[in-house]
Structures are given as C-alpha cells and as structure tokens.
C-alpha cells in the first residue's frame, strides 16, 4: 500500500472515530432534547428513538404555565445584576490601584488573595449562615447577594488586575502630561482598553450566579424565593420520574442563555481563562 493510500485510510478511521465520539459526547443532551419533544409517553418502552414520531411543545409550555419559572428567572436576574454591579463597582478601582500603584502591604494582600482564592466558599457555609441569620438575612435576596459578591470579589480583583498589568502605563503618563486627572485617566483611557477583561469578568459573575444552587437551596426556604438553579434542582428532586419530560425541557431552557454566551464569547473565554490573571 502506498504512503498516500495509508494516510487516506488513517483519515477515514479518524473521522469515523470522531463521529462516534461526538455522538456519545452529545448523547445526554440529545436524549433530553428528544424526551422534551416527545408527545407519546413512551419513556418506559424499549422502542425509544432519538427522533420522536409525534412532536409536541407541550412540555415547554408546561414549564412556563405549571411551574413558577418566570418568578425564578426574575429572582435570578435580580441577584445576578446586583452581584454584578457590586463586584465590578468595587473590583475595577481596586484592580486598578493594585495594578498601577506600589504601596506598603500590596504584596502581602496579593499573596493573601491567592490563598483565599483556593478556599471553596462552600466550606464557610455554616459560618455564613450563623452570621447572616441574626441579621434576618436568611431567606432574603440580600443575604444571597452578600454571599455571591464575597465569592466573586477575590476573582474579580485578581482577574482584572492581571489584565490591567498588560496595558502599558505610558499611555496614562502621556495623558497625565496633557493634564488629565487621575479619574479621567481611568475612565477615558484605561476602561475602554480594559473592555475585554471587564466583559469576561462580568460574564463569569453572571454565569456563577445563574448556576449556583447549593447556597440558594440552603439559604432560601420558600419555592417562590428560589433562583432558576434552585428551582430546577427542586423540580428533579421532588418529582423524579413523573416530570422527567418537563424537567428536561426546563433544563434546556435554563442552559440556552449560557450556551449562547459561551459560544459567542468562546475565544475570549478560553483566552481570558488560560492567559488571564488567576493562576493556581
């Protein structure tokens, strides 16, 4: 067999391999998608096929009419926006100060922040509960916002500081000579240049709040205060088998915004994460 024929054969095998692998990678999602569209209740039958013979959107309608999904969505959005505003509002000036200024305590604080980044907030859940409960903040949005901002504050500071470091300081010095004040330097020069990192950090905060379920189910007690993640969790935990088609429809609805964001920002995300500030 010639070298070329060998290589063609190799390519055929590799292509087949990837087609099979991709299918298996996508199976859990394809299956959920197919179940959510299936009009027949043939889940228990062995004649399941990936293309339902009778399609229906009934399960999707049920998600919005039978479950308080819109309320959960509202809760999630309020938490996400509040967390975002606080994390960026405090994180941007701090990241700028740590990137541009040299002052006593700077290195010690940066080292401390790396260590804190290693600490999963799940581990201080008891302490947070114990601290928030006498203030009447359990089962309130404020309580969760406090927890979420704390969790994201370290990440926001480090991630943006790392990016600010890559913006040449000469641009600001030139502006200073032209008489720009410190505040003008930041708002007119640094912020526009830092748009990519601000976008990535904002996205990470939103995705975190959108996906966080463990604090939400422990700190929120009524289902009308649930976030989307906590609501979805409650859908599967309470009515396991009965609502599997509705659950899969709800899962896909909840995932869709994240999927869109991910693929829209895929390049930034991978670069922002792999070359960004937070390492180890």
């Amino acid at each position: 067999m010639s070298k070329k024929a060998k290589h063609t054969l190799l390519l055929v095998v590799v292509n087949l391999f990837f087609i099979v692998v991709c299918f298996f990678v996508l199976v859990p999602v394809l299956y959920a998608f197919s179940v959510s569209l299936n009009a027949e209740n043939s889940l228990l039958g062995s004649d399941f096929s990936f293309l339902p013979r009778h399609m229906t959107l009934r399960n999707y309608r049920a998600v919005f009419t039978e479950k308080p999904v819109l309320l959960w969505l509202k809760n999630s959005l309020i938490l996400a926006v509040a967390t975002l505003v606080i994390s960026l509002g405090t994180g941007i000036p701090a990241a700028y100060a740590f990137s541009r200024k040299r002052f006593p305590g700077r290195n010690a604080i940066l080292k401390l922040l790396i260590l804190l980044y290693a600490f999963p907030s799940l581990l201080s859940m008891t302490a947070l509960y114990k601290l928030l409960s006498p203030m009447g903040l359990i089962n309130t949005r404020t309580g969760l916002i406090i927890v979420y901002t704390g969790t994201m504050a370290v990440f926001a500071l480090w991630n943006m500081k790392g990016y600010f470091d890559t913006i040449p300081v000469e641009i600001e010095e030139a502006a200073m000579i032209d008489g720009a004040t410190q505040l003008e330097q930041v708002t007119k020069i640094v912020l526009p240049l830092a748009k990519p990192t601000i976008a990535v950090t904002a996205m990470m905060v939103l995705v975190y709040v959108w996906n966080e379920y463990i604090f939400a189910i422990n700190f929120m007690t009524g289902s009308d205060t649930y976030t989307l993640a906590a609501g979805l969790y409650s859908l599967q935990a309470t009515e396991m088998s009965g609502s599997w088609p509705i659950f899969s429809a709800a899962s896909l609805i909840v995932s869709l915004p994240i999927l869109i964001v991910f693929f829209a920002l895929q390049k930034n995300m991978t670069e922002g994460l792999t070359s960004g500030g937070v390492k180890g």
Binding site: H7, L11, V14, F17, F18, V21, C22, V25, L26, V27, P28, V29, Y31, V35, L44, S46, F48, G89, T90, P93, Y96, A97, K101, R102, F103, L116, A118, P120, L122, L123, S124, M125, T126, A127, K130, L131, I146, V147, T149, G150, A153, V154, L157, W210, N211, I214, A229, L232, Q236, S241, W244, S248, S255, L259, F262, F263, Q266, T270, K279, G280
Partner: protein
C-alpha cells in the same frame, strides 16, 4: 505630603470597598469557621454551645470510623484517577485533531467542546436522570436491547465511583483537550522534520519532542484542574447523595463529607473542623506549587 504617601492613600482609598467586602464576607467567615471548629455547636447546641478545644480535630484525625480519613483517601484516589485519565485521553484526542488533512477538525472541536458550555449542574442532573436512572435511563435501555440485565449505575460504591468518574471526565475533558490542542499547535514543526529524518518513531517523537515541549504550556492549566478535581463537589453530591434521594452508594470526597456533616447531620462544630483541615491542605498545596513555579 510626599509622593509615596499620596500613592498609598490613593491605592487604599480606591481598593477599600473591595478589600472591606473580602474582609467581611470571605476572611471573617473563615476565622469564624475556625472558632466554631473548637466548639460543640450542633442542632441541639445552636446557641448555647461550649468551647471544647481541639476535640473535633481529634475526632476527625484519630477516630478512623468517623469517615474523614476514608473520605480523604477517596478524594486522593479520585484526583489521581481523574487527572491521569484526563491527561491521557485529552492528549490522544488533541493529537488526533491535529492529524494532517483532517478537514472537519473545526466541526469536531466545536462539538467536543459542548459539555464545557452547558451549565455543570444541569448536565449532571441530566446524566443522573437521563442516563443512569435504573428504569428509564438510556444506559439501561441499551442494556435491555443487548439482552443484558439492567444495572444500578449509582447503587453501590465501586460502580458509582466509575459512573461519577465518567461524568467528571465528560465535564472536564473539553477544557483539557482545548488546552493541549492549543499547546500542540504551538510546537515548531521543524523539530519533527529533523526527527523524521533521523528515523524517530511516533512514540519517540511524542516522548522526546511533544511532551517536553507542551509541558510548560499546559502546566498552569493542569495545576488548576488538579485543584478543581480535588475540590469537586457537584458531581458526587448531585449524582449520589442528594437529600431525600440517596442512591445507596456511600462514596464521599472531603467536600461532600464536610457538607453532609454540616447540613444533613447538623454537626456544625465537627464540620467546621473538617473545613479548616481542608483549607489547610489547600494552602499547603498552593505553597508547594507556587514555590515550584518561582524556582522555574
């Protein structure tokens, strides 16, 4: 006022809100966890707890039956198994993606990355109900078609560990494949050409060129992934130990163990001691890895 003092004042006033937030919401609760860990706080002593010194730490480290040491062993095993499989599989996949003449490589890349794009907890719940469920899960439907007995995929320790590993690989491989894929593309082709002239086999080229070349590039990502694998909670908790729907498997990583002691058996003092021990281990790891980074 001189320039230095002005800079310091500026820096602290601009970073004050952020640092205050971190101090109050991150550092203080950690210190408070340390305090709780030395008390007997539990569901019966929620407010009238007493200081008991290092009792909880003794319970965790010296009483084998309490399960912390087992959980620690499982966590180490989990981390090693997952990292080895991840690196090997991701390396093979990335190498295959870079084969010359593979026209559809970008299609495969996009499809393979899909699990990364899904919210993690949603994927895990879909795996739990869609794939592993013993009645209508897809895996058992396939088993039935093949004429095999249905399997309780999450029903006992060993098989649940394997199932959890599969889901974790499914979740984590896209990131690792992307990293190694990127690293492979940065290797200079001319090295391979001269190696080919010397008659080096594929294995030799991999061992002496590819791996040494990509190692420094992927090292930070591998480090981060090792940390997240060690701290993994969602996969094991959501698949096997949700409140009210435990599957019968009793595998614990240290994080699910700490969570169970706090929010299911309500032994807050003991659980806080576990938290502090875990934090100590994570700190030790970061010291070791940061130290090595600086040497390099």
């Amino acid at each position: 006022m001189n320039k230095n003092r002005r800079e310091t004042l500026f820096a602290y006033s601009w970073s004050l809100p952020s640092l205050l937030l971190i101090l109050l919401i991150v550092i203080f609760p950690i210190l408070y966890t340390g305090y709780i860990s030395m008390t007997n706080m539990n569901i019966y002593h929620w407010n009238n707890y007493e200081f008991i010194g290092l009792e909880n730490y003794k319970d965790a480290l010296l009483v084998f039956d309490n399960g912390f040491l087992t959980a620690l062993f499982v966590t180490v095993l989990w981390t090693v198994v997952n990292m080895v499989l991840q690196l090997v599989i991701a390396f093979i996949m990335a190498t295959l993606l870079n084969i010359k003449g593979l026209r559809l490589r970008n299609v495969y890349r996009t499809l393979l990355i899909f699990p990364w794009a899904m919210p993690g907890y949603v994927s895990i719940l879909l795996w739990k109900t869609g794939m592993f469920n013993s009645q209508f899960g897809l895996l058992n439907q396939w088993m039935e078609k093949l004429g095999l007995e249905p399997v309780r995929w999450l029903g006992s320790d060993v098989i649940a560990f394997i199932s959890c590993t599969c889901v974790n690989l499914w979740l984590a491989l896209p990131f690792m494949i992307t990293i190694i894929d990127g690293a492979l593309q940065s290797v200079d082709r001319s090295f391979y050409e001269s190696a080919l002239l010397d008659g080096a086999t594929w294995l030799e080229r991999t061992r002496y060129i590819t791996i040494p070349m990509i190692r420094p590039i992927i090292a930070p990502s591998v480090m981060i992934t090792t940390f997240t694998t060690f701290k993994q909670f969602d996969v094991i908790y959501l698949l096997t130990q949700q409140v009210g729907s435990k599957t019968g498997a009793n595998i614990h990583t240290i994080l699910t163990y700490a969570y169970e002691k706090a929010f299911i058996t309500n032994n807050y003092g003991y659980s806080s001691a576990i938290s502090i021990l875990i934090f100590g281990m994570l700190l030790l790891f970061s010291f070791v890895t940061n130290g090595r980074k600086e040497e390099n």
